[in-house]
Structures are given as C-alpha cells and as structure tokens.
C-alpha cells in the first residue's frame, strides 16, 4: 500500500495530500505523522490540502485527530490551501474543524506556526501553578 510522504522542513513537517484517500491510508498517515513528530522532535505540522477537491466528515475527522494528537506531542498543526468550493461545502455541511488552524498556503502556514509557538511559549511562561 502506498503511504503519503512526509517531508521535513526545518522544525516542521509537511504533508501534501494529493490522493483520494481511503480509510487505511488515512490511518497510516496518522500513525506515520506521530512517529515522525516524535523522531524529529518536530514543532509543527503543515497539512497541505490544495489538491483536494473534496473534504468530507471523514477527512475532517482525520484532520482534527491529527491536530489533537500532535498537540499532545507538543506540536502545532496548520491546514493549508483549502479550495473555495471545499470551504463553502464544509460550511454548508456544518463541519467546523475546531482545533485546526488554517492558512492560505504553506508559506503563510509556516508563519502561523512560528507565531503559534511563540504565543504558546509566552503563555506557558505566564501560566501560574
């Protein structure tokens, strides 16, 4: 079975989803990502979905899961490149993708990851007890 490639980009990992995903592939991706985050001590994950012409509740769930799991491993997640037709459909579908940050493209996504980490670290510093 083919697996979706994960690229290391400095402190971050980049995943570009280009295929029509089925369940096994999605499961494999989640497993692979968590393994890579751990191995490289990655601080963030960029999931580029600019090639997806469709995001259903299954993919939405997968993205939410990845963000949640990555957070536990101390990494932020940003989903980039969502297409307008997909965004409009998701709004209609009622899928809100809470806990998932988004950016227009990978470059903006990286900037977002930079600021997200800063915010979290400053926040942690100020947290009491």
């Amino acid at each position: 079975m083919e697996r979706i490639p994960i690229l290391k980009m400095g402190r971050y990992l980049l995943v570009t989803i280009q295929v029509d995903m089925h369940d096994r592939l999605a499961m494999a991706l989640q497993d692979d990502l968590m393994e890579q985050i751990r191995r490289h001590h990655a601080e963030g994950v960029l999931i580029d979905i600019s090639a997806l012409d469709l995001v259903d509740s299954f993919i939405g769930r997968m993205l939410g899961n990845i963000a949640a799991m990555a957070r536990i491993l101390d990494a932020d997640t940003v989903v980039t490149g969502m297409r307008p037709a997909v965004a409009i459909t998701l709004v209609e579908l009622g899928l809100s993708l809470t806990g998932v940050r988004t950016a227009l493209n990978v470059e903006r996504g990286m900037e977002l990851l930079d600021t997200a980490r800063e915010e979290r670290e400053t926040g942690d510093g100020r947290r009491q007890g």
């Binding site: 012409d53 469709l54 259903d56 299954f58 037709a85 459909t89 579908l93 899928l95």
Partner: protein, 134 residues
C-alpha cells in the same frame, strides 16, 4: 418526471467508496452543475457511501439523471441490507454517531442536497435517496 439516465453501482469497500465519488463527480459535471454544486454533491455521496459500507455492511448506489419539466436534477439512492436504523430522528440529529464519526453523515448529506428521503427497517436495511436540482 422522467429518468433520463440510470446506473447502479456496488458500494462494498473503501475502494468502491472512492469510485462512487468519482462517478458522482462525472455525473454532476455532465449534468452541468457548477463547481460548488458538484462539490456538495460529491461530498454528500461520500458521506452516504461511507455509511453504506461501514454501517450497512455494503450495498448499492443508483445514479439517476432526472428531467422534471424545465429543471434537471441528479438523484443518488443508497441501499443496503444491513442492520437498519432504529431511531431515525436521533440519527438525523447533528453530531449523533454510534461509531467514531463526527455523526454528520446523514444530517450533513441532507443539508447539502435539495431533497432527502430515508427509509429504514431495523434488521432489514436502509435506503437513502438524495436529489440535487440544478
């Protein structure tokens, strides 16, 4: 109302769910739906196809191109002989799920399409028909 084109396809595996999505896209394009409408149709088809495989134990989907006077539409009918749904009202509520899903399959598909019809008998199976008019 006339059925201008009619085709039935099996939905029994993940790979066939992918195929159903592609079919839905092709049919939507050939009926002249715009990009946003296409996306809605294919997304609804994906939700319902998944339901058929995961909860219905596999089944079929029927594609029909409809002519109702001046307007044209696409109808997808998903059918399975699975365990059926005991409480339809509950199943149609947003966020309800017996599995690990976000529970948006049925209610989501309903929102994306113009018409939504569901018949289910526990122990016998489920039939969901959705239509999108142009």
């Amino acid at each position: 109302m006339a059925v201008v084109r009619d085709e039935q396809v099996s939905v029994r595996s993940e790979d066939e769910v992918v195929r159903v999505r592609q079919f839905a896209r092709e049919w939507a394009i050939s009926l002249g739906f715009g990009l946003v409408d296409q996306t809605k149709i294919v997304t609804a088809a994906s939700e319902l196809a998944r339901n058929t495989v995961i909860y219905g134990g596999g089944g079929t989907v029927r594609f029909q191109a409809l002519n109702d006077g001046p307007r044209r539409g696409l109808r997808l009918t998903f059918e399975d002989t699975g365990p059926g749904i005991a409480d339809l009202q509950l199943a149609l509520k947003d966020g309800y799920s017996t599995g690990t899903g976000l529970g948006l399959g049925l209610s989501g598909a309903k929102r994306l399409m113009s018409e939504f019809e569901i018949h289910s008998t526990p122990g016998q199976g489920t039939r969901v028909a959705v239509t999108r008019w142009k």
